[in-house]
């Protein structure tokens, strides 16, 4: 990783039909970095990706990818990036090889160079043995791998991946995550969007947390954890309604915040050992049964909860 900038996003804004999908987005990604956009569905991640891949024109602002403007020189941008879309965008009635040849040609590859890259990518995504089978006959994981392989054909310096692990089995997911790391090890800059906290945590050099079209937190994993000040999250499930217990817990000195969503209660506390007896005692006194409890050390989920007051998975 170097200090050179691969992606520079400046006040990027997108709105349509009165709805603002992305507002005043600003961040930079260094060359050779894996940068994740983490956020729930509808946070604006895919809209951002669509603008960076020149599919959508921004309402205002601009982004430079390796110095090329998405507004002024979109063709140059398209030549240096590879985009892995969220959906499996392959031709299911063509074989893996036919797919790669076609997409390679769309990226301007031809002749021996095209044949070499097709072979290399088939090897990379472990589809050499099944290269002549129609993509429609592949498993979901194989289709995902082909979907990724297409974006790597022209050896792009920046790869943008939009939730590439949605809806696949753990084994295929593992292969894809390892593949992203391998790709990055070769010096490729990766912009990765996900709503899986664990993926962002495992892969990324830096993470930006998005919600409602804005970046609400940005930094390395440890920098983000520090936002919640080392707070521990206690998740409770109660059989009855908590009544005024929530207000009571909020008033406690070591409790940072309390939130309730869909019957699940989350407490962000500085010290779980001192607060847990208080919680059990107060619920027992109120005649409320605790049916479930989970204590979590600080993580990105806690950061998101801290910043937005709601859980990331909602």
């Amino acid at each position: 990783m170097t200090n050179e900038i691969a992606i520079h996003i400046k006040d990027l804004h997108k709105s349509y039909n009165g709805f603002t999908a992305v507002q005043s987005l600003n961040f930079t990604v260094r060359k050779g970095e894996i940068f994740s956009l983490l956020g729930p569905n509808g946070a604006g991640k895919s809209t951002t990706i669509s603008m960076l891949s020149c599919l959508l024109a921004p309402t205002s602002g601009d982004a430079l990818l390796l110095g090329h403007s998405i507004s002024k020189t979109p063709r140059a941008v398209k030549e240096v990036i590879g985009v892995v879309p969220q959906e499996i965008a392959v031709y299911d009635d063509l074989s893996a090889r036919q797919n790669l040849i076609f997409w390679g040609r769309m990226y301007g590859l031809k002749g021996k160079q095209l044949a070499r890259r097709v072979d290399e990518v088939l090897d990379l995504v472990a589809l050499t043995d099944r290269q002549h089978d129609r993509a429609g006959h592949y498993s979901g994981g194989m289709q995902r791998r082909l979907n990724i392989g297409i974006a790597l054909l022209h050896e792009p310096q920046i790869v943008i991946m939009d939730e590439p692990t949605v809806g696949i089995d753990p084994q295929s997911r593992r292969k894809i995550l390892d593949g992203v790391k391998e790709l990055n090890a070769r010096g490729v800059t990766v912009l990765y969007t996900t709503h899986y906290m664990e993926e962002a945590q495992e892969l990324s050099h830096r993470i930006a947390i998005m919600d409602h079209g804005r970046i609400i937190g940005e930094g390395t994993h440890s920098e983000l954890i520090r936002i919640v000040g080392g707070l521990i999250r206690i998740s409770l499930t109660l059989r009855q309604s908590p009544g005024n217990l929530i207000e009571m817990w909020r008033a406690l000195a070591s409790v940072h915040s309390v939130s309730e969503e869909n019957g699940a209660i989350s407490l962000l506390v500085k010290d779980s050992t001192s607060i847990l007896p208080v919680v059990f005692e107060s619920t027992a006194r109120a005649g409320i049964s605790v049916t479930g409890m989970d204590v979590q050390e600080p993580d990105l989920e806690a950061v998101f909860l801290h910043l937005t007051g709601k859980a990331l998975r909602d």
Partner: protein, 421 residues
């Protein structure tokens, strides 16, 4: 080059689709082929099964009339080569044997000629009955046998009248006609009426020198002339269907995400849309070429001058491809396209006259309505070609059809360009 690659990819995908192939070739050929087969297409005319006839001739030669035997003449007629395509007649000795053979389904019809057949025919005051005994489940065979016997008896009655007239004429001049001469007159009259009847059956009187133009003479039977317009109508109808179905690849790619992915490659939007249009046009050209060739080879349809046919074909390709592109540009999903597109193609094709190509007495209003559809103009071009029209007669409707194609294409490209911007 990218246009070419997009075109090739779309062509490969389309030709791998059984749905496209069915609309492209199978359905139009079935639509035209079924009536062809129903009218006995491959057997060169009406295909009627030969009726098995058993004849019992109980008639005896008449000594009164120079040994003449009308029953033998009728048997000879039933067994003549001229009727071999319709009847195969076999003689049996007794009526009972003949009827038993029909009951046993060894024969379809028994013709039993009575003993006094000749005598009765020569006498005005006697009636005679030839029995036609047949399988009750059959209609055509017995009708043919009855028709042959009726014609024979009509002819014989005419011969008698001819002989009577000749006798009366000679008597007026004080001369007589002996029996041998009388039978000769009857025979000569019989031969003449037989030849006239044969000619009239073919629609030509021997006294009329009927000549068709050399072009029509080369051409086809009535049946082929009927199939030609049907095949043409079906070809135009299904070409517009294939135009719309293959243009659906835009919607399909949009739903599968590959269109958005294409737009993310360094390929211009124009190249993508033009590549797709060229694929639709090539597919249609292939369809039209194959259907015209098969129509010519299989159904002997004479489509007319090859150059003019090519011009008409190009008009069809342009009109159908443009129409398909325009339709698809208004659709939001494959589901919507399937319903709306089908309805639009069927309605315009019906109004354009593709379903009524073999009708010649359609109301004037109908002929006016089809001027408002591209199919109507395409058909005009093809009909002009088939009927030996001049270049200008073919070029005008084809130019109008092509213009509708270009305008539709422009509307389609404008809509699609706006939609994906």
């Amino acid at each position: 080059m990218k246009i070419l690659h997009i075109t090739l990819k779309d062509l490969v995908r389309a030709l791998r689709s059984p749905f496209v192939l069915a609309f492209m070739l199978v359905l139009p050929l079935l639509q035209a082929g079924l009536p062809y087969l129903a009218f006995g297409g491959f057997s060169q005319g009406l295909d009627v099964q030969v009726t098995r006839v058993v004849v019992t001739n109980l008639d005896q030669p008449s000594s009164e009339h120079e040994g003449f035997c009308a029953g033998t003449l009728l048997v000879d007629l039933l067994q003549s080569d001229d009727l071999a395509d319709l009847l195969s007649a076999f003689e049996m000795d007794t009526a009972a044997q003949a009827q038993a053979a029909v009951d046993a389904r060894e024969f379809d019809v028994a013709v039993i000629i009575p003993a006094d057949f000749t005598t009765a025919l020569f006498r005005d005051d006697e009636t005679v009955s030839v029995m036609i005994y047949h399988d009750p489940a059959l209609t055509i065979g017995p009708a043919i046998a009855r028709e042959v016997v009726t014609n024979f008896m009509d002819g014989f009655a005419g011969s008698l009248m001819a002989a009577d007239v000749a006798q009366a004429q000679l008597a007026a001049h004080g001369k007589t006609l002996d029996e041998a001469a009388r039978v000769d007159v009857m025979r000569r009259y019989g031969t003449w009426i037989y030849s006239v009847g044969d000619s009239l059956e073919r629609g030509v009187h021997p006294g009329i020198n009927y000549q068709a133009s050399p072009r029509a003479e080369e051409s086809q039977s009535v049946m082929v002339a009927l199939i030609g317009p049907i095949m043409l109508g079906m070809m135009v109808f299904f070409a517009f269907f294939v135009g719309a179905i293959s243009a659906q690849s835009i919607l399909r790619e949009e739903e599968q995400g590959t269109l958005a992915r294409l737009y993310k490659t360094p390929t211009s939007k124009a190249a993508i849309l033009i590549g797709k249009f060229v694929a639709v046009a090539i597919l249609l050209a292939l369809q039209v070429t194959l259907l015209l060739s098969i129509g010519g080879l299989l159904f002997n349809i004479d489509w007319g001058d090859p150059l003019l046919l090519t011009i008409s074909g190009l008009g069809l390709v342009l009109a159908a491809a443009g129409f398909g592109f325009m339709l698809i540009s208004f659709m939001r999903s494959m589901r919507q396209a399937f319903i709306v597109m089908g309805g639009a193609v069927i309605l315009t094709s019906m109004a354009g006259g593709t379903m009524t190509t073999s009708f010649t007495n359609l109301p004037y209003a109908f002929a006016t309505i089809n001027l408002f559809t591209p199919q109507g103009w395409v058909l005009r071009g093809f009909f002009a070609t088939m009927h030996g029209g001049s270049l200008s007669e073919v070029a005008l409707p084809t130019a109008v059809a092509s213009m509708t194609g270009l305008v539709s294409l422009s509307v389609g490209l404008y809509n699609l360009n706006r939609r994906f911007s």
